[in-house]
Amino acid sequence: MSTNFMLDGQSIPFEDGQTIIQAATQAGVYIPHLCYHPEFKPHGSCKLCTVKVNGRQTASCTMRASAGMVVENNTEELNAERRALTQMLFVEGNHFCPSCEKSGNCQLQATAYHLGMMSPHYDHFFPNRPVDASHPDVLLDFNRCILCSLCVRASRDVDKKNVFALSGRGIKTHLIVNAASGHLADTNFTIDDKAAKVCPVGVILHKRNGFAVPIGERTYDKAPIGAQVEAVTEGV
């Protein structure tokens, strides 16, 4: 038996143990997110999925739903804050959408469009992040890393390989791979790994596959991010 909570005035059913974002997604309500992925343990770090629960802000990917909760999601205030977080992610790394192979398939880009981000607003940090092209099948372009840790979780929890991890601290936090050389080629990573398929941005790129689908015909070119979630309730 399920109970309900209120999300932007809409009654959302949930099962015991479900988080707010899980219940919302099931009910066809999109909550913007980047580090959340339904198949993995929530991380709660990007903070884009922040909602107001009974007036208090909290990440909806880690907060369990409970009966009678009053949750705000699609509000001007929250979307403005999410937009600012997205801008932060853009200036923190080096994101050059027009020349990026992931353009149109990139969740960061699509989320920025969704939130109406018109400029990066903040001064760019322009960090110096060398790429790793050592692996025969996969290129790592750390310039676009948003530290969501999805590859870390996929490699650890699904592939059981621990190929990726975060190191450093603060603004110097960065992705590392499991090799003394620091090169992906020297790890046991393969293109069939789950971790090869979860990057929401353009860090983990499959070689010899560039621009196979032309820009303009890609996932988020066809339908904006969130549309898939919202389609669940269409025609109901």
């Binding site: 802000q57 621990n162 601290r169 603004i171 936090t173």
Partner: protein
């Protein structure tokens, strides 16, 4: 190569010795890395290879942890690793000139290692020596009260490769500077007295709490000491001394009542990761009355039914490790710790000391627990809270050093005695760490309710402009607020009390604090990781003369964002010093508003500074637009 006494030992032998000592358990990763580095100077790829094999963990795990802590090095940093404390109080005492002097003496730039691999010089966050600064750490040993003479001597000792053990002992002498003692700093409780009193105590209102949870209650002849002890803590109205002021009794009770999974147990953790800039009371408590603190932990263990405890000691206080271990050993011999405490069969409780390695965020209780588990010190998602899911996912209480010391006295003297001290909502005393512009910096213990003005008078502060209470994450008070009082009703504090006289530039104070938060952000969540850097850049922009009203609006927007979106208290409070000083010391900011309209932070002339440094030039011709004063002099 006699500099490091362990040099004779091969790297492999060091790794094997340390790993064996920590039972080959990766949960002790941080301690293992720290001890290996003490012997090997840095964590070389060889060390990581060896550890990977010895502990059976992936390299990513080791490098992830090593990369998180400021005091762990995966690059060689010299045999002498010098870190100057860079709190605002160190700056006020002239640390900048001393850093420059040492760098010039040793032909070195801050942040770099000398080409011969001998020495590196860098900055670190407040080292807890604010009452006796400027201070530095050399290979994790503290040298307070630096002078130009000592700096010159240090340069000489370094150049001569003199082992640290042969340096003048006077350098490393840390003073206690207890200026005013009350129940804690003046306590003369004999070891064991508090425990005995707790054991003999019976509840005033019968057997309320459920049994079978504590050492004594499970026994057939059990008297209800533990639940009676909890009653006393309740009656004492003791609140956490780390600054947040959570009820100690509620915390202990929640942990005591937490359901135990099979194979699980309860833990008592002492938070001695005193990282808030301007705070140094825990250092003195652990120096002058460690028995009181350890007895408080043992009382807590007795109350909640724990068999194991940890003291998480900040890495800056490394020099306290041996003395504290000696106290633990003595207490074991006195049957006050270890097996069958006070002769109670099954009354077992022991304490391990874990050292931090330069990460302020580990003062946050869930980050501290992560660190105890040998991980990166990232605050956890809460709920669940540590009282139910703490160390190794088991029920854990984390309390401040001062809280445990108070608990020991409550065990001895009772809750009513304690509740009578202080104010209605703030029972007991508070130890203030006083530093900055005053004649007698040091520790001052007062019953709660003391006014700012009283403290200023007692420590000999004059011409005071502002007081920063509870460190950068606390509040900045101006002259018209000096009648406000220390206490949870008015100004809660973890104890820092930094004084600034009228000559100080409060903008620079705030800028120092913003740099601190930027350096200490753990990097887990977007708003704090990027936001503290953006804030630092904005403050630097104002400092560099490019400020405009636009930047004010930006600072306010960022503050709002950090407060509402951050994962933990660090992000929530990172903007406090700026917001407070903007509100109360506006002229210090107005001076920086050099432009009416937006001006970019980028400065072409500043961008040439690297080229100037490389060519060794600083004449007018090497500048895009020479400073006006220089031109004037030339004309």
């Amino acid at each position: 190569m006699a500099l490091n006494e362990m040099r004779a030992e091969t790297t492999a032998a060091v790794v094997e010795r340390v790993v064996a000592r920590y039972r080959r358990d990766p949960v002790n990763m941080l301690q293992i890395l720290r001890e290996i580095q003490e012997a090997c100077d840095w964590l070389s790829p060889d060390v990581i290879d060896l550890l990977q094999a010895a502990l059976g963990v992936p390299r990513t795990k080791i490098e992830g942890v090593a990369g998180f802590y400021s005091f762990l090095y995966t690059q060689p940093r010299g045999q002498y690793r010098i870190l100057f404390s860079d709190n605002i109080t160190d700056r006020m005492l002239g640390n900048q000139a001393l850093i420059k002097r040492l760098c010039e003496n040793l032909w070195l730039e801050p942040g770099k290692t000398s080409e011969d691999g001998l020495v590196s010089i860098d900055l670190t966050s407040c080292t807890g020596m604010c009452d006796q600064g400027p201070a530095l750490l050399i290979n994790n040993r503290a040298i307070p009260r630096l002078t130009a003479t000592i700096i010159d001597e240090i340069a000489e000792l370094v150049r001569n490769w003199t082992p640290l053990s042969e340096w003048p002992a006077a350098y490393f002498a840390v003073e206690n500077n207890i200026r005013q003692a009350d129940i804690l700093l003046g306590a003369c409780m004999k070891p064991g007295e508090g425990l005995r009193a707790a054991r003999e105590r019976t509840p005033s209102d019968g057997f309320k709490s459920s049994n079978m949870r504590s050492w004594r209650e499970g026994l057939p002849s059990g008297i209800s000491g533990p639940s009676a002890m909890l009653d006393e803590i309740k009656r004492a109205n003791l609140r956490g001394r780390g600054g947040a002021g959570f009820s100690t009794a509620l915390k202990w009770e929640a942990c005591r009542n937490a359901q135990l999974q099979p194979g699980h147990e309860r833990f008592v953790v002492c938070n001695a990761d005193e990282g808030e800039p301007g705070t140094f009371k825990d250092r003195v408590l652990l120096t002058t009355c460690p028995d009181l603190v350890i007895e408080g932990m043992t009382v807590a263990a007795y109350t909640i039914g724990a068999k194991r405890g940890f003291i998480y000691l900040r890495g800056e206080y490394r020099y306290l490790l041996e003395p504290l271990n000696a106290v633990l050993e003595r207490r074991r011999n006195e049957h006050l710790l270890g097996k069958d405490i006070l002769g109670i069969a099954g009354g077992d409780f022991d304490i391990e000391i874990h050292l931090g390695a330069g990460a302020y965020i580990c003062g946050e209780e869930s980050a501290l627990i992560e660190s105890l588990e040998g991980k990166r010190g990232t605050p956890r998602n809460r709920p669940p809270f540590p009282v139910t899911n703490g160390y190794l996912d088991q029920p854990t209480i984390v309390n401040n050093v001062e809280t445990y010391a108070a608990a020991a006295l409550i065990a001895l003297n009772g809750g009513d005695w304690y509740a009578d001290i202080g104010t209605r909502h703030s029972a007991g005393t508070k130890i203030l760490s006083v530093s900055g512009d005053c004649e007698r910096p040091g520790l001052y213990e007062y019953p709660f309710g003391v006014s700012i003005r009283q403290v200023l008078a007692d420590c000999g502060a004059s011409d005071t402009q502002a007081v920063q209470v509870s460190g950068p994450s606390g509040v900045c008070l101006g002259v018209d607020e000096f009648d406000r009082r220390i206490g949870f009703e008015d100004i809660p504090t973890a104890g820092a009390f930094m004084i600034f006289n009228q000559s100080r530039d409060m903008f620079e104070v705030a800028r120092n604090f913003v740099h601190f938060f930027q350096h200490e952000s753990c990097g887990f969540c977007t708003p704090c990781r990027v936001g503290t850097s953006l804030l630092k850049n904005l403050m630097d922009k104002l400092h560099n003369g490019h400020g405009s009203p636009y930047d004010f609006a930006e600072i306010e927007n960022l503050s709002q964002l950090l407060q509402s979106m951050s994962h933990c208290g660090l992000g929530h409070t990172a903007c406090n010093p700026v917001l407070d000083t903007i509100e109360k010391f506006r002229p210090a900011y107005d001076k920086r508003m050099e432009h009416d309209q937006f001006a970019p932070a980028f400065d072409l002339d500043r961008a040439l500074s690297e080229a100037r440094q490389m060519t060794g030039r600083d004449d007018a011709g090497a500048h895009l637009h020479a400073p006006r004063t220089v031109l004037g002099e030339e004309a």
